[in-house]
Symmetry: C2
Subunit: 360 residues, 2 copies
Amino acid sequence: MSKSARSTRRRLRGGVTIKDVARQAGVSPMTVSRVVNGSRYVSDATRQAVQRAVRELKYSPNLAARNLASERGERLGLLYGNPSSAYLSEFLVGALDAAARHGVQLVLEKCEPTPGASRRAVRRLLAGAVVGVVLPPPLCESSVVRAELNAARLPVVTVAAGRPAADTMGVRIDDYTAALEMTRYLIRLGHRRLAFIKGHPNQSASEERWLGFTAALEEARLAGQGERPPLMEQGFFSFRSGLDAARKLLAAEPPPTAIFASNDDMAAAVIAEAHRRGLEVPRDLTVVGFDDTLIASTIWPELTTIQQPIARMAAEAIDLLVGAVRRMRRSAADPAQRVHRLIPHALISRQSAAAPRERG
Amino acid sequence: MSKSARSTRRRLRGGVTIKDVARQAGVSPMTVSRVVNGSRYVSDATRQAVQRAVRELKYSPNLAARNLASERGERLGLLYGNPSSAYLSEFLVGALDAAARHGVQLVLEKCEPTPGASRRAVRRLLAGAVVGVVLPPPLCESSVVRAELNAARLPVVTVAAGRPAADTMGVRIDDYTAALEMTRYLIRLGHRRLAFIKGHPNQSASEERWLGFTAALEEARLAGQGERPPLMEQGFFSFRSGLDAARKLLAAEPPPTAIFASNDDMAAAVIAEAHRRGLEVPRDLTVVGFDDTLIASTIWPELTTIQQPIARMAAEAIDLLVGAVRRMRRSAADPAQRVHRLIPHALISRQSAAAPRERG
DNA sequence: ATCACATCTGGGAGCGTTACCATGAACGCC
DNA sequence: GGCGTTCATGGTAACGCTCCCAGATGTGAT
């Protein structure tokens, strides 16, 4: 009686188990496991028999059981700040993909940029029993968050911080070089009077981009000729701040023929302001951005910009984190493994940049 | 020897198990499980003792074990189409949150809008052993995808389809009423000459919004007065199509004092085009959108628009799906449970709408 | 007192997989 | 020809939790 009740319970599951496959293929469950997990130490004949059985029965391994047995399936935290960041969507796609590959769970936590909120968000993650945390921008720069996480001895990966932090792992692009290349590109187009809109001052990527810009100017002997500094305005990565900066820059005499904004939102704002003043882009003004977020290809003309492979960076971050977690389990090592990965960027040429009409 | 090796393996896990808590609290593991899972049938005294032990040991249940034992932890698929949709980010946040709550895994699959690609994407999901699928727009309207999923007898939830489909569950807002309310709002502001930009013709939400718009006009006796149809242009939800539509609408004589675009991207395009013509928004032209996506609050002036609680809708979709999956396991029922949920929308008033300067 | 019933707790099996041996066969190598 | 080595496979015991029962106790109706 009790026996049959048990078997009823089992049969409720639609699932084909590893044992069913083993029986069908005439081998032991262990061998099936080896085949499924791609171990060597299985003869070709056996492997093929198992694979056929898998196909015939449409077997697919039970994730929970696998995680339990192999002590995987941990939770990783993703602490995100500014939800209006167009980063998030692509970031999540990459992160989820990598998480699924490793069989780990991803736990999101939103966090306002105040110290109190940061602390609380980290506590919530800890309560959620995460074993590692990914920090996309702008939280990757928050010393409060980082301190809190270090105190909990959790491995942390920052993404897209302009400069590597010593106490975390990191994935980023070379902001300096990217800005340098973009500026060179503008100069090669023939622009001589270039302007720059800086990004938010407390993100280190902003400074890197600015340095890349000035380096290219100096290289071309377009700056530092004694008299005046290059045309520059401080922005804060928001559309609104881009609008303000554009107004000032376009009022300069003579106005720049090209404006390099530190991100796409500000570049879009420059285009909006230019249109408002009756300027055609790129005929009368070249505008370029940085990041290649959604808005870059939404607006018209589409933005020439620097592409960060955000999804890939997110995936790499998860990879790094999983590696660190497994390593720590084996050897109780320090969470701060100074691993940093530099991901290649790309200059995406669209319609917002062209040669100036008259040499400026 | 073998014994100590085993215990070594166990101790590698940092984890506190349910047994540790049980010992500490002086009860059985079963009772701890009940407390943790919020069962009644636990006395208050016991409950508190257990809770204290949980806190002291920082116990957190092992997800994999829990999923295995309770036959949860299934994979749900999320098939997304247009990755440039600003929907995705918010959608994923809501979906992930709900997925974590139910302890299910979320598997993403991207899919181009061609029949072949759709078919392949569905196959990939099936190969990934998902037991249910969420379809955000625009895939929720794809008959190919729906047919393929129905053939696999998978429960499906569509999100934000304008009209409920008979063969799936659905979560949506009332597009018709939302458009009606927005139009009434414009009329109440004093606008008499209104124009509309339709959305993509093969999404049923587009038609619903258009119907809501015309209904409000008729209600106010601003349309159907015999002579001419209301000012309208066909758009395709893209910025570019909004630009084209705006050009035509603003060339009308007399031009409209308010333009209602079927989504935010097109509304943003209308603003861009208006600025280009030297029109101030909202002084010279009122522009409103629909969806309240990222761009609505990015641009300047910020858009008055209809807010869809996307994250909440995604979460509801996951809830529905999990419910259906569990139900099917118990009774092998039909996957097409005609459950449809209507989520409340909201009119978000920002800076892009105002009373017209002169009564139009 | 007896019985039905709800409340509370524990024992033991089982979820599906992989880790850790053990075993046997084949293959050199001195 | 014995002896290590690598390869190929299987048996068994976990992994940590929840489900299904079975008691145990209390409560009110008969």
